[in-house]
Subunit: 259 residues, 2 copies
């Protein structure tokens, strides 16, 4: 039997709400067994970029990572957010270690190829170094990843935190029985977006197909669900989507995804 | 026989000179054996603090680390500088891992007590966790420390990089035969500050005393030399002070300190 591992992803809406972050860090520190945290960014980077006079460049609703924007992302996600989360987890007796993908060569990516659009310094993940991450876990450390990877040739790259979470879970599945938790601001995947309590408790490959066909899953949920089923198809045991409290058993309602 | 370990410290003047930094990283990546890098800050933090409208608070020529200043230091030293150095070392086949003292609980410190002056969020080192750093080295990783520690209760603290270097070297001496390299903008400790070639090649406890009495060592060199002899008295084998190229055997002149 492989040992168990939980990979937990939190987004900017938790990071930038002091009370929500405090609750979450308490819950995460208290989780038993091997665990990894992946955190997204939030609006601080946008605010600081604005203060530094760096304009946000968008194309088709998607942000372009210019060199100046990347610097701010590295400062805010890799520095301010990551180091403060690590220090607070240490204060809760969780031996956290903050990582970008460059640290210990844990996550390599390739700069997104320019087709119609040049997304700038955005990285698509190539490989998670499961052996390096396992060595940290075996030293009793809890990796805390920010949404930054590297190309192995000296360049840092901005990378989607949801994708980092699923790729890390996939990469660790050779060594661990892995579960993936996506914590966000809803109680789970909703049958009716207008009704916060219309959580679908369980989705499998079959019902996923139906939910796509009937367009119950659409818009922002599409890439998230794609990440989830990609993880399941590549040996991640279970994926859970819901409010952060679900990692501490505080939520009755959340969505569990299996193959 | 204990294995050998080199602890190398570079300051802001190297970090902020692209050509000097490139040369240094090449030399550091090529160093054989166990090694640790400690980097200082430089003027980027001051510049960004200015752009963000955060005033520098000084007292008696010393900087006070306000909460806002600490945030900038964590962004710049812990994020921008540290992650870019790590990514560039990875590109040179050096498996670097960036650390603040909070990461892996590697360096704990205490907030400097308020006597005549409140230095704010400045930390005096209490303990280097040699076991944790050794585990990283044994996993084939090269720790890269920025000048930030933590109090173990959730608070990051700004800490002098020279002191981090000497305390890390001391903390590792239980497990390693440790040498400490202070790279700076001079060829070594100078007998005559006006003459860049008046390097004193070797200083021991006896000649150190004389150099202090005759005031050859004064001003800015005093705390650096104090750190050096503190390290030597606490089981660090040798300390070298000079231009960065000394780590690659490129310098004929530099200062070696022994007990």
């Amino acid at each position: 039997m492989k040992p168990e591992l939980s990979v937990v992803k939190i987004g900017g809406n938790i990071i930038e709400n002091e009370s929500a972050l405090g609750d979450f860090l308490n819950d995460f520190a208290a989780m038993k067994g091997n665990k990894i945290l992946v955190h997204g960014g939030g609006r601080t980077a946008t605010r600081i970029a604005g203060q530094l006079g760096i304009p946000a460049q968008m194309t088709g609703g998607r942000r372009i990572t210019t060199r100046e924007t990347l610097d701010v992302i590295v400062m805010v996600y890799g520095g301010l957010t990551n180091k403060n989360i690590v220090a607070r987890l240490q204060g809760l007796d969780c031996n956290a270690i903050g990582l970008s993908g460059a640290d210990g060569n844990t996550i390599t990516s390739g700069k997104r190829p320019v087709k119609d659009v040049d997304y700038g310094f955005a990285g698509d993940i190539r490989e998670v170094n499961g052996k390096a991450v396992k060595a940290l876990l075996e030293s009793g450390m809890t990796p805390v990843f920010c949404a930054i990877t590297h190309d192995g040739k000296g360049q840092l790259l901005n990378t989607n935190a949801d994708t980092i979470a699923s790729e890390v879970a996939i990469g660790m599945s050779e060594h661990f029985e892995t579960s993936l938790y996506y914590c966000f601001e809803k109680k789970g995947v909703l049958r009716n977006v207008e009704d916060d309590n219309s959580v679908i408790p369980h989705i499998d490959t079959e019902s996923y197909k139906q939910l796509l066909e009937t367009r119950v899953i659409a818009d922002g949920m599409l890439p998230k669900m794609h990440n989830c089923f990609n993880a399941l198809q590549r040996h991640v045991g279970k994926v859970h989507i819901g409010l952060p409290g679900m990692i501490a058993g505080k939520e009755d309602l959340f969505t569990t995804l299996t193959l």
